[in-house]
Symmetry: C2
Subunit: 212 residues, 2 copies
Amino acid sequence: MDKRITKRQKDLLSIVYKHIIDTGYPPTFEEMRECLGVSSNQSVVDLLSKLEEKSFIKRTESAARSVAILPLGYELLGKPPLAPFLGVTTAGIPIEPIEISGEWQQVSQDAALLREEVFLLKIRGDSMINAGIDDGDVVLVKSEKEFVSGHIVLADIDGEKTVKRFISDDKPPYVYLKPENPKYSVIPATDKMRLVGRVISVLKDGYWKSAK
Amino acid sequence: MDKRITKRQKDLLSIVYKHIIDTGYPPTFEEMRECLGVSSNQSVVDLLSKLEEKSFIKRTESAARSVAILPLGYELLGKPPLAPFLGVTTAGIPIEPIEISGEWQQVSQDAALLREEVFLLKIRGDSMINAGIDDGDVVLVKSEKEFVSGHIVLADIDGEKTVKRFISDDKPPYVYLKPENPKYSVIPATDKMRLVGRVISVLKDGYWKSAK
DNA sequence: GTTGACCCAGAACAAATAGTCGGGTAGTAT
DNA sequence: ATACTACCCGACTATTTGTTCTGGGTCAAC
């Protein structure tokens, strides 16, 4: 199948993107027809079919305003993919911010959260201030299986959760967690230590007030 | 008006949120009715009215799938506000991630972007590694008028953009920008320096791959 | 008790919306 | 020439979807 896209198809994709940006939901056939400047919605049908065929968008048959832009579509537009922001989760389990101490203890939370692919944690304490994570910040954690030395991780030590920098090098203690604050000392790896995920985003205190 | 929300109302708000997460667009009345587990869509009408009345959501009359979650709604749910990322902010100008150097120079971008309330920047350089901002990370910047000493800010120095920590204290040079890397020295404030906004979120390299 | 807010049942209606049918034009490749 | 693709026109239909109506039940506040 020809994966190339024509100017008109790209026009429509931009129209859909802009509508989502402006209103928060996709346009109807009629709205797309209007923006395209044509008088028949057959054109819209044709163009949408092509776009879907080429995996730029995805639609649900007979459903109003059901066009969703796929990753390939964002790539084509050269825009930041909105979908990841909208859907960093996989399952439908709601993501709840939970409190976590900077001194690696006292998290009264069920483990269900930790099965999520991505979830939020509110940080308490000052053990990571030199890594730009301050008291009150919220971190977005992504579950991982493999870890790279130097990454900020969420660890579980005998049931207690903590956020630290993960280090693995050729000098003792070889594998350990490093608080980013000279006040605290490193935590060597033990058999009770388990790495849960990686911090992929730090939402500064004040983030939540940022919208309006 | 009573701003409190009932359990059922919050249920519905969660249902709407989840639907957007899963599909990319809001649910219909029928879908919401189904998820609520009731047999009449009058319930949906009632609950939506209350939610809109209290500014948790916004709808467009007679338009299918037109429920949009407002910032207050995200706050209630304890979820990251999708709105800023989507750009529902003010104008319809798309938010483009732009490259910005850590050595405060060379940004060929129009100033239009800087009028956005919230936008994304990709960081180049190592001048802020001690603040947890590494080469390749993307920061979310919110336009601000007032700045607090210690905040990470986006500054414009004679047309060149840079991200640094803003410091204002009682010792010379009193007001300056501080790179979070001992390799670099501070930048005293001049009349050519302008503070644009505050970094409210740091998306680590790898964030974009986190979804799917 | 009475009231009112909140929530639900069941049905009918009206508007919005997606999809269809039968064409037409222009360009391009075979 | 012929065939093919991309795009468009105009009118129509079928379905989805939002809205309205009448009524009932529960629970807490007054």
